[in-house]
Symmetry: C2
Subunit: 346 residues, 2 copies
């Protein structure tokens, strides 16, 4: 007897990181008596006088935001990295440390306090894409910035301390661990095949269709075969671009479009403002050519069963490795079947 | 000018996994306006008729727990792994999966619903150690069980759905990712030096003292130099043992003692039942010799500033790598200075 591997416990291989993930398709049936999250339902005002990200308001640091009309970025008042670092590398037997330097920025997506990406207009999301491009280019051009990590923490369960629509950029001297893992696997494939690993993967997924969520002219949103988070998704450009700097104007709009489409699906899933962390992985800015790189944007949303029950990545996941309870295909199907219009406008 | 590396942003190297962690010592000062957790303060009864882990009660599956008096283990009613898996490995271009099989067990630490490890008696924790040893030996002896992961998720913010004191054991055919990373680095050191990496590390830490939390005759509890979680800690046996099966009776008691000491410190830190995930990493049970392995128990607690404010491992951490706001030395000092007696008994 040969049972379909997708219906019994199995491990899937992540071609980008070389790591495995445990899938337990039968397990989502177990009853949940644990922690539930508070659902955030408050409607927000377009301007909040107490919000340190709203235009014209004064931040904790004493600095005042301009009356910005378009996406606005500034240096984080409490940065995890500092531009200059006078320390020297340290090594003493088995203790090993290195100074790290970098620049941390905050990117306000909109002056309007009440918005989120899925309910912003495509033209306004396009302005966010343009600002990301500008930051990637400017930060990346600096001598000691070899990687630029663009990300968003959305929702308080993702550690976001202010609901004003915003993301962050942490740029730094060293290449971070997760990026290094992907670099390695992309490079290996590139050297062996002289083709982009993600181009080939995309071709395969477009043929199989079962994990595809959305397709626009230049982008595809899908649930990767090796997804870890219950409704994890990935946006991949059809063109083999190393970084977002290569997007032309039409593609910028198209990128905005697919971000909107995907995040609407997310909000519609549990009819809630769907929390996630998203991030763009792209070529390091270390001055080297990176033909192996193929940029992509990933979304890691924690919700599992409802607006209030999330997946916990705890004991087993921390000590052994990631584990999930529904398959990538089940997640993709559920997301695909949802309406394309945001629930709050229906 | 040569600034002390510990006071400015730096990266530290984890000798066990080969990965780096970003430390931002200056950043803990930032104000926190984000999510706070509910503090669990209810005093629990020693027996709860609705608890599926209490002695004599019937579980969801219809099975009834015996009137156990000592730690009690049983097979998980909703296991992530199943003992038999008839599927075959699957590979289609860039999609790759493997069947996985294993046995998942639940370990009730005590019949008393109201307890936790820090408030259990040393002799009763010793019984838990004995049961872990038995499970490691029995599960590990099975043909298709090559790794036995013992862990505990404590507290509802760690995904624990029942406050009855208990942990879990997931044992499986493949060697999990985190274990494999450590195996690799332990092995490299062993082959090069014919000494245990953790023995040498322990020697160095005992000399430096600044990260040591507790020392008993046979064990040391410390904050590892490369700690990720704010108050992460590690218990290491002084003897170079590959697995807990090698502990003799005296060492079992001593292991229980240091677990109690460490978890009392934890509870005393914010005067709350301190949430964490803990796990024991030890030699695989794949039938091979593992002279390189040196077992240890790690604790990953999420709380950062108070009983209600935790560290979020989100955007940057997910896409780049772990980041922390206080140094290992600061964390160790705070824990060290706390009383040895549990706050609830004072
Ligand atoms: O098995 P439990 O306690 O129901 O579940 C808990 O621990 C598991 C192992 O770390 C996780 O996969 C779950 O997300 C968590 O809620
Ligand atoms: O910078 P913020 O929004 O204050 O902080 C949030 O994002 C950071 C980057 O992922 C994390 O290190 C913090 O734990 C999280 O609360």
């Amino acid at each position: 007897m040969n049972t379909d591997i997708n219906t019994t416990p199995h491990r899937r291989y992540n071609i980008l990181t070389g790591e495995w993930i445990l899938v337990s398709p039968h397990r989502n049936k177990r009853p949940w008596q644990g922690k539930t999250e508070k659902q955030t339902t408050e409607k927000r005002e377009t301007y909040d006088p107490t919000c340190y990200l709203c235009p014209g308001n004064t931040r904790n640091s004493g600095k005042t935001n301009p009356e910005y009309k378009k996406p606005f970025s500034f240096e984080n008042d409490f940065p995890a990295l500092l531009p200059k670092n006078p320390s020297e590398a340290f090594e003493q037997d088995l203790l090993k440390a290195e100074p790290e330097s970098g620049i941390c920025k905050v990117v306000c997506f909109s002056p309007d306090h009440s918005l989120t990406l899925p309910i912003m207009k495509i033209e306004d999301i396009t302005e966010v894409v343009k600002l990301w491009k500008k930051e990637y280019a400017n930060l990346g051009a600096k001598q000691n910035i070899n990687y630029v990590q663009i990300f968003e923490n959305k929702g308080d369960i993702m550690g976001c301390s202010n609901p004003h629509p915003h993301g962050q950029i942490w740029s730094q001297k060293s290449i971070p661990t997760e990026v290094q893992k992907k670099s390695e696997h992309l490079k290996k494939y590139w050297l062996e095949n002289k083709r982009s690993l993600l181009s080939d993967y995309l071709k395969q997924e477009l043929k199989l269709k079962e994990r595809i969520l959305e397709e626009t002219e230049h982008f595809v949103a899908l649930v990767p075969y090796w997804a870890v988070w219950p409704f994890e998704a990935m946006i991949i450009p059809k063109n083999h671009y190393q970084h977002i700097g290569q997007l032309n104007e039409e593609e910028e709009v198209d990128f905005a479009k697919i971000i909107k489409k995907l995040t609407i699906k997310y909000d519609n899933l549990f009819e809630t403002s769907f929390p996630y962390s998203s991030g763009i992985h792209q070529a390091p800015t270390d001055g080297l050519e990176h033909p192996e790189w193929h940029f992509h944007m990933s979304f890691y949303p924690p919700l599992l069963r409802s607006a209030t029950v999330k997946k916990f990545m705890v004991g087993y996941e921390m000590f052994a490795g990631p584990q999930r309870d529904i398959t990538a295909e089940q997640a993709a199907q559920r997301l695909r079947e949802l309406p394309d219009e945001h629930y709050s406008f229906r």
